[in-house]
Subunit: 178 residues, 2 copies
DNA sequence: GGTATCTATATCGTTTCGATATATTCTACA
DNA sequence: TGTAGAATATATCGAAACGATATAGATACC
């Protein structure tokens, strides 16, 4: 599932501009996917060229013009085909965890600060997500939202309960001769 | 934190070949990072060129030769510098969840099969991880391993408890006029 | 004997990232 | 009232990473 396909899928929820699609990636898709403008705009241009979406330029009052994209019947078919593909295994990227793997190489204080910051931002993000719980929308979207919440909760709980593992050791052995 | 830095970090655990580093990415790093040969080999070449690692070719009996990499003092310093950087927010990529967001566009049976497969592979992977729980190693490595286990458990539990959301709706409205 | 998996390194086209550029409007603050 | 910062909006480009493929000997299984 590449960015082109994801854009197509988001357009099944309704017409949108590239900027609005980026907002979706930062919002409800945040826990499953990420995409930058550098991939979204080329994707939309490619989809337009391939006849899977149409593009209409819209003038706006007090705002820059926007290009509104709409999925075509051919686009819907292409998306349904893509949905049938067997999904590859999930991937994650966490620099936070990668750093903590080497906690014994860092000053104890630094590790504690890092953990505090992560918990604070995690709790903030969680509160934000709960506020945005979708009441309408498709069941799939609610399922996905709930999954994001559950994963965040689990991450916060684990870090709270196990932070001593990386903190106490850093205190006891600030410079182990590895 | 790029692949070069991660390779450097793994080499602080001991000397390794490119192939062994790939194994690490598939093993204990699996839940925080991923890297293919296409990024590992160029990274090791670049690190060698920059004097952050050294490379020694080793002949082996009944196996292809391997190039064993070792981190240099300059490499250790570069790695410690990189560890100080503030980590960006975590990222995830799940085609499984992306597909389920559009569950109402799919046949009910397909969704159920997809969920069953995911649960089966998740449980298998979890059992595998529990078997490989590290007893030795740095506390950071144990912390990271535990985190991976906790996240997998949470994902499985959520899917088990909420699969009806995407399954029942698919049965009731197999072709909603979106 | 054949087929698949493991060890091991490497390349290459395509995709995606991340930073940057540009321009307008809205908001907040001193 | 000025101005700094955030939001809306599109776009490009070099660098990084992906993913598939090639090569090749060893082992293991049917």
């Amino acid at each position: 599932m590449d960015i082109k396909t994801l854009c197509l899928g988001l357009l099944t929820f309704g017409d949108a501009s590239g900027y609005e699609i980026k907002k979706s990636f930062e919002g409800e898709l945040r826990h499953f996917y990420e995409a930058s403008f550098g991939s979204i705009y080329p994707a939309l241009m490619r989809l337009t060229k391939d006849g899977l979406v149409t593009c209409t330029e819209q003038a706006q009052v007090n705002r820059p013009d926007k290009k509104v994209y709409r999925i075509t019947p051919a686009g819907r078919m292409a998306f349904l085909d893509a949905l049938q593909q067997k999904p590859p295994h999930d991937r994650a990227r966490s620099d936070f965890m990668a750093i903590l793997m080497f906690a014994d190489l860092l000053p104890a204080r630094h590790v504690s600060d890092l953990v505090d910051e992560r918990l604070a931002s995690g709790r903030k993000h969680l509160a934000d997500m709960r506020r945005r719980t979708p009441r309408g929308g498709s069941p799939g979207r609610r399922f996905a939202h709930g999954y994001g919440v559950a994963m965040l909760e689990a991450a916060i709980a684990y870090i709270e309960e196990n932070r001593h593992l990386v903190e106490s050791e850093a205190l006891l052995a600030p410079a182990s001769g590895r």
